[in-house]
């Protein structure tokens, strides 16, 4: 099989990834301007990305009596200081207006007699989030001048003189490749799952928390073009229901279930209550022989049990299926919990693109929002959308100012009169696609390489098997082995377009692994238990109150450090 059709499209703004942030950006752009938009989405925007199964609550909201600054303080504390306050603040300011917009789109909220949203704890509000993605997708479909390309997987940016001018990808449904030229590009491809060996083996390997289809494409594409990245060492490890890997917030915050060990002792207070400490405590209890660990739900009322079943159906139906199948609900049986494999997710921790306050990356004209953008943890759905709105507003402004110093494509096209002829860059890329599609001589399958990568990361870069711990010697081994796998990945074979996507997913993950390893090595302290547990440097120190940033240059990762950025003023890139 070979790609024989190349399509060249032109748009004002290209959005890569039609998830929470991507869809919201399209809505914002069309509400506030006349610019044309293309959304390139590898799945179908109706149920793609994190929101596929639904969400349980809006986790980021400023409840009555609190201020956006309170949210900044909370996120800062949870990340022990390594955040971008300018990003957190500008996001927090918009959380509530995003929630209101979601209500306009049809999302159901729990309200009190006064018509106010009902809070869950001090930062969440209660909703029925089962259909949040179809609601967003419907709203996008109604927009004019927005073209949605479903099942188009983007693999590369087109960058000239550090300015983005488009992106390249291919359709999984037919054998065509796409060159999409744009004046501004928003990357909203989410985070990266599948880097480490997952909780569940074999047949259920994809029963993981983060979507296995978010493979770190956005990070990898940026890295390949020299974009600056930040804080990849702050991995996210989720504390989840055993087996189903369903969220636990509903149990902890909803019915107040405490973390208990096998003896029934509440252990969470012993280790601290930040997100990473909750995971760490569970690891330690198990290591010291007091596992398994549970969320104590025994003794809740039948009414609460029924409500829980419904709540899980709205976001993680496998957990309800488990309760129903076993014939024992949460009131009769505590829910066992475990830590997941580490993910790289800028919406929960702070890994991702290094952006300015407007969410522009270090590549001119390229913006990032949602889980792919760094420096701004605890953003969740509403925060991802708030970032999309900020990026959209700035892209509109920049287009109005006609701010593109690099209009080479337009000029070239005008001269030749061929606006729809593929560029040389595109032709090279298609050659690469066709090389994988035409390869018949290979020993290793994509799947084998993926498993090998996950094993390396698990054993040598702080996966589940090593209780999330690592040292420098191990990281060195991990790097060497990942580089070897990268070489092998150049020679895999793809039987069809779907397998071609698998090839690129593997390559993206390998590159992200390399960045994770370099960042873990770069932070010589242990600031967050489990998330980055460096046994060579088991303490944290004031000296490390700085960002670990990186740039991929000529095949190697350059690590450098930046001073913390405060809330005051607008942050712009400076080198």
């Amino acid at each position: 099989m070979q790609i024989d059709i190349t399509k060249v499209l032109n748009t004002d703004i290209l959005i890569i990834g039609g998830g929470a942030a991507g869809c919201y950006a399209a809505l914002t752009i069309r509400e506030r301007s006349g610019y044309s938009v293309i959304i390139a989405e590898k799945a179908n925007i109706k149920r793609s990305g994190c929101l596929a199964a639904g969400v349980n609550a809006l986790n980021a909201y400023i409840v009555e009596g609190n201020t956006p600054q309170d949210y900044v303080e909370y996120a800062k504390k949870d990340a022990d200081g390594i955040v971008r306050e300018d990003l957190l603040f500008t996001m927090s300011e918009r959380l509530n207006q995003v929630a209101e917009r979601l209500e306009e789109l049809g999302l159901v909220f729990l309200k009190d007699e006064g018509g106010r949203y009902v809070a869950r704890g001090s930062r969440n509000i209660k909703i029925n989030g089962e259909n949040i993605k179809p609601l967003l997708a419907d709203a996008v479909k109604k927009l004019e001048a927005v073209t949605v390309l479903n099942r188009v997987n983007i693999t590369d940016y087109i960058v000239e003189n550090n300015e983005i001018i488009g992106a390249i990808g291919f359709s999984i449904e037919d054998s065509s490749a796409y060159e999409i030229r744009a004046k501004k590009v928003l990357c909203a491809t989410g985070g990266a799952a599948g880097l480490y060996r997952p909780n569940n083996p074999g047949f259920s390997r994809h029963k993981m928390w983060y979507p296995p289809f978010n493979t770190g494409a956005g990070y990898a594409m940026g890295m390949k073009c020299g974009a600056e990245m930040t804080t990849f060492e702050m991995r996210f490890i989720a504390l989840r229901c055993k087996d189903t890997i369903a969220p636990t917030g509903t149990l902890a915050q909803g019915v107040g279930a405490k973390q208990v060990n096998e003896k029934g002792e509440v252990y969470e207070t012993k280790y601290g209550l930040t997100t990473s400490e909750r995971v760490y405590g569970t690891v330690m209890e198990n290591l010291e022989g007091r596992g398994p660990c549970y969320l104590k739900t025994e003794g809740i009322s039948k009414k609460e049990e029924e409500s829980l079943k419904k709540a899980y159906l709205n976001m993680a139906p496998s957990q309800t299926l488990k309760w129903m199948e076993s014939g024992k609900g949460a009131s009769e049986q505590n829910v066992e919990i475990e830590g997941t494999e580490p993910y790289i997710v800028g919406g929960h921790t702070a890994s991702g693109y290094w952006v300015d306050t407007n969410r522009q990356t270090t590549i001119h004209g390229l913006y990032a929002a949602g889980d792919v953008a760094g420096g701004c943890p605890q953003k969740y759905v509403t925060g991802a959308m708030a970032e999309a709105e900020i990026a959209a507003e700035h892209m509109i402004e920049a287009l109005k100012r006609n701010d593109t110093h690099n209009t080479q494509f337009d000029k070239k096209a005008d001269r030749s009169g061929k606006q729809d002829t593929a560029s040389d860059r595109m032709r090279d890329q298609v050659k690469e696609y066709n090389r994988f599609l035409g390869n018949t001589e290979t020993i290793y399958s994509i799947e084998e390489l993926e498993e090998a990568m996950q094993k390396v990361m698990d054993c040598y870069a702080g996966g589940i098997t090593s209780h999330y711990k690592y040292n420098e010697r191990q990281l060195g081994i991990a790097r060497e082995k990942i580089k070897q796998l990268m070489l092998l990945s150049d020679n895999v074979a793809a039987g069809d377009m779907h397998e071609l996507m698998f090839v690129y997913e593997l390559k993206e993950r390998l590159l992200v692994c390399l960045a994770v390893i370099a960042h873990l090595e770069g932070r010589k302290e242990t600031r967050w238990h489990s998330f980055a547990e460096n046994t060579d440097y088991p303490q944290k120190s004031q000296e490390w109150m700085k960002y670990v940033n990186s740039r991929y240059e000529n095949g190697t990762l350059k690590i450098f450090y930046r001073d913390l950025v405060g809330k005051e003023g607008q942050y712009e890139h400076c080198n």
């Binding site: 799945a43 990305g49 994809h206 029963k207 087996d243 915050q253 419904k310 159906l313």
Partner: protein, 104 residues
């Protein structure tokens, strides 16, 4: 994690194939839906919600402690009716009102 497709009930409408966030399902020549990459299923249940004919069921793999129960969903007015058929033939249903928020 994965799904089973009841070929007799599948009408070949293709909606499940369209909606899968991993693009893991395909249609055979006669339109019948098939799960091409069962090991890659995330278990999100998008396809079972999409199927208006109850032809797709979600089940838990044995590694997850699955006991062979099959979960389907249908829509009745504003309700989503979730139904689990256990291996002993018993059926349990939970109706969730789409107009109602989660209590937790």
């Amino acid at each position: 994690m994965s799904i089973v497709i009841d070929r007799k009930r599948c009408t070949g409408c293709g909606k499940c194939v369209l909606v899968c966030p991993g693009g893991l399902m395909k249609q055979e020549k006669d339109g019948t839906a098939v799960m091409k990459y069962p090991k890659d299923c995330w278990g999100c249940a998008s396809c079972i919600k999409e199927c208006k004919f109850g032809a797709i069921a979600l089940y838990l793999g044995t590694e997850l402690g699955g006991r062979g129960g099959k979960m389907t969903v249908s829509e009745k007015g504003s309700f989503l009716i979730w139904r689990v058929k256990k291996t002993d033939g018993t059926i349990e249903e939970i109706a969730v009102d789409k107009r109602e928020s989660n209590q937790y």
